[in-house]
């Protein structure tokens, strides 16, 4: 049964005189052509026009070949049978070569592009502080189908992710690579010329948004219509791969040109998974880098439109034009406003101020030692590709190990091919197994955490995600931008919860390792801590019992506490626990993370390379010395010190309890006189910190308050609250050592505190 086609008549099914009672086949025809390959409505085998309809056609002939599987053309379609044959042939070939397929995204995954003319200027100016960073940036112009208007004929500046050449080189042995980008065809071609001039790695396997057929999402079915078993993807966005999540290795977005984002993303829905990147470019005053603001405005602008996009199927031509216009606008904005130039100017200004004040803080010293005296906006310190390379190597190894285990008798038996997506899931699923994570301040309100991008990712890595703080929770991940939330207060009461900042999560997800939390632990604000201490006597026995139940030894007290008792417990037990974890993981990861086991070198060595940690200042700190000193100290008079402190805090509690609802800013003056019952050590620590940070923060305050200096003078005197300072110091430094590195590190946070306190003070005065 089917369409009467051209061909040879083989058999009559009906006889003369027979009665036809219902529909039945009356003749058998052998077709001369099955029209399996069609090009723009023409059969590519016999050349017949497939769009012609006549009286006998029920279904158009074009429906015989509907699958589009060529990279660089939309007109060519094949039948599903043929697609399967082709793909099986490809799989056999790859199995023979022991390769897999790898689909590679361009923007923010392996390159970062922008069109800001400032880059060109910096490139030609060796005296510019950014010269070192931009000198290997490549540029090209798109002549034909680039954006119109002001952005027409502009230069595109392409920064390759550090280590890209080596990455491609090593991956080419294990993977057949495809480019899959949301940029235009011409753009994709240009990039391919830059990253792969000899067409060694990608050949002509480049697919762009022009051929994708959908401008809001990517789909592996477009390239691998039958089976995605042997395919892996690397992309910085997981939301564009709604159907192929298992195959995706998510990459931390490469953000070299700060605040530019992805120049080809205006067609995509607004990304939901942005975690603020670690503040790599230290600004003089520790305020959040301007980049985030620029980013936010760009996103805001596009959001209304993007919402539309996500609702529509992307087929609407008018909408597409509108989006193209949108993209043009954002590109023009880049050219006109030159955000990078402004950022650099701001940095320069800050530098000047800093020089005048004559106290270069630690971050200035760090960066000036490495490069120039002037700060530069662009930093070239990304090491994501090394991680990705490791993950992909593991995947390849696992895939062929499990393939070989199944002992395929011949290459033709494709049923034994394991699913790369499944293997990837397994590899990922072990990373955070056993962790129960609660997020705070990271997922926007109104979005279901369990459905959010970040949430899905966390669950993909084997962790349980919870929305409420409870006893089974092991980690609370909070945003450094919003460090004081209700969840934090709740979590502070339960000592088994590790409170870490989002960088821990970012780094874990990037390195596929449950990293040691110590460098990421978040200091709990003293007013939040208060309640915890008040509640402590009640909590403690419970938590012990709880821990036994969990059977998760080694995490008795994980928030480093004000009381040094807690600190000691934390140090010993936590490290033990980590030893076990790391050892078991080593088998899979094949070494490379020995350092984490090493209690004395607490910083994971990956961080040292990439310096993605927000606490770089601690690197130079002598931890061994600190530990020794601490151990000695604890051994001698830990008990009575603890008592002292409990008393002191208890006294303070009464004072503070009244102001619990508000921040303790307003409580500042009352808490100034340090209760004499507090330990001497603590006092000393507090006043030391005060003295050292005083000069620098003075300058800061003057800038901040402008002409109102006279008003603030009394506040300034009464401001430094030893209590707060002590809490911070013990939390951060996890030791009482007055090491210089720690001191410097602390200053940033003091300044923030002081700033906030001061502002509150001012407000109060103005209102009163």
């Amino acid at each position: 049964m089917g369409i009467p086609g051209d061909g040879k008549l083989i058999e009559w099914r009906i006889r003369e005189g027979a009665t036809i009672e219902k529909d039945e086949a009356c003749i058998v025809v052998e077709e001369s052509c099955s029209h399996e390959v069609q090009f723009r409505g023409l059969c590519a085998i016999c050349g017949k026009d497939m769009t012609e309809m006549d009286w006998s056609s029920e279904i158009p002939e074009t429906s015989r070949a509907t699958i589009n599987m060529t990279h660089d053309n939309t007109g060519l379609t094949v039948s599903s049978n043929l697609a399967a044959r082709v793909e099986h042939a490809t799989q056999r070939r790859l199995l023979e070569q022991r390769k897999l397929s790898l689909v590679v995204d361009l923007d923010q995954t392996i390159i970062h592009a922008c069109i800001e003319p400032t880059i060109g200027e910096w490139q030609s100016d060796p005296t510019n502080p950014n010269y070192e960073s931009v000198k290997d940036v490549r540029s090209f112009q798109l002549d034909d189908d680039g954006p119109r208007g002001l952005a027409m004929g502009c230069s595109y500046y392409i920064k390759m992710r550090p280590g890209l050449a080596e990455f491609l080189e090593s991956m080419a042995d294990m993977y057949e690579m495809h480019v899959y980008t949301m940029g235009t065809r011409a753009y994709a071609k240009k990039i391919a010329e830059i990253i792969d001039p000899d067409q060694k790695y990608f050949g002509n396997r480049v697919i762009s948004r022009d051929e994708n057929g959908n401008i809001v999402s990517k789909n592996l079915k477009r390239l691998f219509p039958v089976s995605t078993d042997m395919v892996a993807i690397i992309d910085d966005r997981s939301d564009v791969w709604p159907r192929n999540r298992p195959n995706l290795v998510k990459v931390t977005p490469y953000d070299f040109f700060k605040g530019i984002g992805d120049i080809n993303s205006s067609f995509l829905p607004k990304r939901q998974d942005i975690l603020p990147s670690p503040p790599k470019a230290p600004n003089g005053d520790g305020s959040p880098p301007t980049t985030n603001n620029a980013d936010a405005t760009v996103n805001k602008e596009a959001s209304a439109l993007d919402d539309l996009v996500s609702m529509s199927s992307g087929q609407d031509k008018a909408l597409q034009r509108q989006q193209a216009a949108e993209q043009e606008r954002s590109l023009e904005k880049q050219i006109k406003e030159r955000p990078l130039l402004h950022m650099q100017e701001e940095l320069d200004k800050e530098d000047e101020v800093a020089h005048k004040a004559e106290d270069a803080n630690d971050s200035t010293q760090l960066s000036s030692a490495s490069s120039q005296a002037r700060h530069h906006v662009l930093r070239d310190d990304d090491d994501e590709l090394t991680h990705i390379s490791r993950h992909l190597t593991n995947l390849h190894k696992e895939f062929y190990r499990s393939y070989d285990e199944r002992k395929p008798t011949s290459k033709d038996d494709l049923s034994l091919v394991p699913d790369a997506g499944y293997i990837l899931d397994e590899l990922k699923g072990n990373v955070l197994r056993g962790c129960v994570i609660v997020l705070s301040g990271l997922v926007p309100l109104g979005i279901d955490v369990l459905q959010s991008e970040l949430g899905l990712q966390i669950m993909g890595f084997g962790a349980d995600l919870d929305t409420q703080i409870s006893r089974r929770v092991t980690h609370l991940v909070i945003s450094t931008q919003r460090p004081r939330t209700e969840k934090l207060r709740q979590a502070a009461k339960i000592p088994s919860i590790k409170i870490v900042n989002q960088y821990w999560l970012i780094d874990c997800l990037s390195q596929w390792k449950a990293l040691d939390e110590t460098p990421y632990l978040v200091s709990v604000h003293s007013s939040d801590r208060k309640r915890q201490l008040a509640a402590k006597p009640v909590e403690e026995p419970v938590s012990d019992a709880d821990e036994d139940e969990n059977g998760e030894g080694g995490t008795t007290l994980t928030i480093i506490d004000e009381s040094n008792q807690g600190l000691a417990v934390d140090l010993e037990e936590e490290d033990d626990g980590d030893d076990e974890n790391e050892a078991s993981e080593d088998d899979e990861d094949h070494g490379d993370n020995k350092l984490i086991i090493d209690v004395d070198h607490v910083m994971p060595h990956q961080l040292e390379e990439g310096s993605t940690s927000p606490i770089d200042g601690l690197k130079t700190f002598d931890w061994e010395g600190a530990d020794d000193e601490l151990a000695e100290f604890l051994g001698s008079d830990a008990s009575d010190f603890d008592e002292d402190e409990e008393d002191g805090e208890g006294g303070l509690d009464d004072e503070d309890e009244d102001q619990q609802g508000e921040d303790d800013k307003s409580a500042e003056p009352s808490s100034v006189p340090t209760p004499s019952s507090q330990s001497g050590v603590k006092r000393k620590a507090g006043s030391d910190g005060e003295k050292e940070s005083q000069d620098e923060s003075d300058a800061k305050r003057r800038r901040l308050t402008n002409g109102e200096a006279s008003e603030t003078t009394p506040a300034e005197d009464s401001l430094p609250s030893p209590r707060i300072r002590t809490a911070r110091m013990t939390d951060r430094g996890r030791g009482l050592k007055q090491g210089s590195a720690i001191e410097e590190e602390r200053r940033g946070s003091f300044e923030e505190d002081l700033e906030a306190d001061l502002l509150a003070e001012l407000e109060a005065q103005e209102n009163g």
Binding site: V37, F39, R40, G41, L42, C43, A44, I45, C46, G47, K48, D49, T51, T70, H71, D72, N73, G75, L76, V78, V86, T90, R93, Q97, D198, Q199, K200, G203, N204
Partner: protein
């Protein structure tokens, strides 16, 4: 096949161009509008001359003047069965795409002689018989058209090189 063809077209001219060299302007505009376009099932390659330019008529409402122009042009109409020379644009496992001037051709693997095989491991990927025939991007090929279809402003064709004297041109 190429033809010399007489055609007619209406050309409009903006009032700001009204003046002595109007005829010249009309011809220029005609050339701009028409040359290199696809008109149904043929391409207008080049305009030889505009031999008859009518009086201009002002269109009511707009002020534009409309001229009816008779002109002679060289057109190319590809026929089924015609043999053309083309340049390969891209190659994939299904076959290869080639451009014969403005015409986009596809030659499927079924219509490539069976000794010329798809080699995905070569850089760049190519069709080759491992001797003198290598079909990759920018190879010149001689192709016989076996099917044509046109839509507004565009035409496509299916080609074959599975006959004598067809295929790669470079070695000969």
């Amino acid at each position: 096949m190429f033809f010399l063809y007489n055609m007619e077209r209406r050309v409009t001219l903006h009032p700001s161009y009204f003046g002595r060299n109007m005829k010249e302007l009309v011809t220029t505009k005609l050339v701009q509008d028409v040359e290199g376009t696809c008109a149904g099932d043929y391409y207008i390659i080049v305009i030889m001359d505009a031999f008859d330019i009518s009086e201009g008529r002002i269109l009511p409402g707009t002020g534009l003047a409309e001229f009816t122009v008779g002109y002679r042009a060289v057109v190319w109409r590809p026929f089924k069965g015609e043999t053309v020379d083309a340049v390969v644009a891209s190659v994939n496992h299904q076959g290869f795409f080639a451009n014969a001037g403005p015409l986009k051709l596809f030659v499927s693997a079924h219509l490539i002689p069976s000794e010329i095989k798809w080699d995905p491991n070569a850089t760049p990927p190519q069709f080759t018989n491992n001797e003198d025939m290598v079909i990759e991007k920018s190879t010149q090929v001689r192709v016989k058209i076996i099917g044509i279809r046109s839509e507004v402003g565009e035409m496509w064709a299916i080609g074959s090189i599975k006959e004598d004297y067809l295929g790669c041109l470079q070695e000969s």
